[in-house]
Amino acid sequence: MKTFPMGGVHPSENKLSSAKPIEVLPLPEVVNIPLAQHIGAPAVAKVAKGDKVLTGQLIAEAGSFMSANIHAPISGTVTAVDMVANGQGLRQMMITIKREGDEWAEGIDRSETLVKECSLSAQEIIAKIKEAGIVGMGGATFPTHVKLSIPAGKKAECVIINGVECEPYLTSDHRTMLEHGEELVVGVTILMKAVGVDKAYIGIENNKPDAIAHLSKIAAQYKGIEVVPLKVRYPQGGEKQLIAAVTGRQVPPPPALPIDVGAVVCNASTTFAVYQAVQKGMPLIQRVVTITGKNLKEPKNLLTRMGTPVSALIAAAGGLPENAGKVINGGPMMGRAMVNLDSPVTKGCSGITVMSEQDARRREASQCIKCAKCVSACPMGLEPYFLSKMTQKKNWDELEARMITSCIECGCCQSTCPAYLPLLDWVRLGKQTVMGRIRARAAAAPKK
């Protein structure tokens, strides 16, 4: 069975909610919608305090090409456009809407009927995706229309759908593939048309045999779509790892992109959102969020409107357990611990993981014994122990030479370290600093 060639770990899967059908979370009374919930420039607010908005109405417009539109997830009145604390306790610009009923904007088809035919041209498809504000829903939140706009001189050869969901605990993509398989595959054909290719692969790890069987059956009705079962290994859902696993091609180090090896990768939930945007005119205002944790009464998959406070999801899953030690936005490997449970669900939030005090606590770090376990675990072929040390020494030039910018922050190094060193903490800081230096240098360099 296929997998990526280098590094990786296999953490306990803990897919507690994989058998739970998607439920619809009751509409929240108040939502906070951050203007920056994607990579790139923040969106620019188009509404002001006191404005009435309808569900699905555009409330913030993409700030540049590398940005995304944002739509109202509920209907009601805008009560504020102000700085609100996010999950990390940092204040960021958000639009607050108080709900009044649930009135939808015109032109959105909310019926369940499957629309297979798509007569739009590639340009029109990309324009629709841009209009709907779709971004990568696996967590990286890269604007999808940017990904689909193939730069001049490069050529896409295949579309790869990321149904890997290698992150422990999370099951939102799994449930989407099972319950919206038909729509998802139509979404694949739309993506293939948008980038002008006739081959698509759907990569799914073989711990989801039901999804593999279901999608294989549907894909058989279409030409050029192939489901590729993959060996379970984290971080297979990383874009570069998935390309290597499916096609055997290695994406060169930055600034090279997946398109340089002819691949366009799109997450499964994103593909479903693409279907909804193009065929039904539905902007990205809701998503499936897994709420999970070993001590949680009822782990669930909830169809949640964007901007819903995380606390509402936890309440729907039976409330915060007594021994909760940490609430993570995302899964345990890549997720971000939260300090503010009133912070909103955003486009990139695929799950909320509640961990017990005991599971969450890090163990006391000791000395590095240069065992190089982190080096063998690194899927990017880096030397995490060295990068971590050099960050502590602030040796930025050395870090840049050692390709710290290739780090995908998957956390394999830290999870295998027998000395419990906070490797990723340091590497991430080093990566941020080095990238800042590269940007500063580019800005200072004379323009050609």
């Binding site: 345990p332 997720g335 300090v339 449970l341 890090r362 394999c412 340091w426 941020q432």
Partner: protein, 337 residues
């Protein structure tokens, strides 16, 4: 015996030959260096702290000798006297700088700024700042993990375990600025050093709105602007909900200290001004020993009372929120097996 003799002789000849070669090579490739550089290096303190912007004292000495205009160069450790002596030696005009001292502008002690979560990641302010707002509700204040302490080459800054904040020893501080650079929250500032280490400064860097500050910390600047109004020298400006006292304009008149409703303006090395006649027996700061005077706690103009009440109201709310937000904030892979 003969073997021994020849060996010694050969070695001697070889040695002399090598010495001669080395002598000529050294003459040929000699690096001409201004002997004054050595002299100037000796005059510099030799701390190699990097406070001047050069990698070490030798780099600074080199620049001092080679540049015609040395008014931009300054050794914070040696100070004005050292620079004057060097300038006199080199026959150039020295930069004149008033003495400065590192000042920690955060009053969020453990008591005044309760913890809302627990940080469990790498013990570094830079790492914590890259992850989230911090262990308290204030996203601007000191993180308390001691990057400034680690950066100090003069043993002049230490964490106070009781307050959780760093404290500067003004007698040891050389104003090299290493801690200022190390602090990711930009809490530390180099401010004018007054005689007897006196100082008046706003001990807060929070740009949050007043209500948000009050909720997170009882010692924060709420940007009310009272200090700005009372200052006779135009030294105080309030911008982005935060007051700043310009050390160049401030005359240490201390009027603002009594005005501040939250005690965010710190007074060091001096007694506070006498309060309103109503409260003549206001608690006086122990003179020089206790450096930070308790700022205006009791003698209360009406507004101050109102603020205190607001703080009381805010407190239970914060407590309620505490268990909710208890989870430690780090982004980390779990170690569960």
């Amino acid at each position: 015996m003969e073997v021994l003799l020849y060996t010694i002789l050969t070695l001697c000849v070889l040695g002399v030959l090598a010495a001669v070669i080395l002598y000529f090579v050294a003459q040929k490739f000699r690096v001409e260096e201004d002997p004054r550089i050595d002299e100037v290096e000796k005059m510099l303190p030799g701390a190699n702290c990097g406070g001047c912007g050069f990698a070490g004292c030798r780099g600074m000495a080199d620049a001092l000798v080679k540049r015609d205009d040395i008014s931009e160069l300054f050794c914070p450790v040696g100070g004005g006297d050292c620079m004057k002596a060097i300038a006199a030696y080199l026959g150039k005009a020295a930069a004149e700088k008033q003495p400065e001292v590192a000042t920690v502008r955060c009053g969020g002690t453990c008591e005044k700024r309760p913890r809302t979560n627990e940080y469990n990641g790498a013990k570094s302010c830079a790492v914590a700042a890259s992850l989230y707002a911090g262990e308290t509700g204030c996203a601007f204040g000191c993180l308390g993990l001691g990057d400034c302490v680690a950066a100090c080459a003069f043993d002049a800054i230490h964490m106070n375990p009781e307050t959780g904040l760093p404290e500067v020893d003004p007698d040891k501080c050389t104003a090299c600025g290493a801690c200022v650079k190390a602090c990711p929250k930009m809490v530390i500032e180099l401010r004018k050093k007054w005689p007897k280490n006196r100082a008046v400064y706003v001990s807060c860097v929070s740009k949050d709105k007043g209500a948000v500050v009050m909720k997170a910390c009882k010692a924060g600047c709420i940007g009310c602007g009272k200090c700005e109004k009372v200052c006779a020298f135009g030294a105080i400006t309030v911008e982005n909900n935060l007051a700043y006292i310009d050390p160049q304009k401030c005359k240490l008149c201390r009027k603002c200290v009594n005005e501040c409703p939250t005690g965010a303006i710190k007074l060091v090395g001096m007694d506070p001004l006498p309060k309103e006649p109503k409260a003549p027996a206001a608690p006086k700061a122990a003179p020089a020993a206790e450096k930070v005077a308790p700022a205006a706690p009791k003698a209360a103009p009406a507004a101050e009372k109102a603020v205190e009440k607001a703080a009381e109201k805010a407190a239970p709310a914060a407590e309620k929120a505490a268990p909710k937000t208890a989870p430690a904030a780090t982004k980390e892979p779990s170690h569960e097996s």
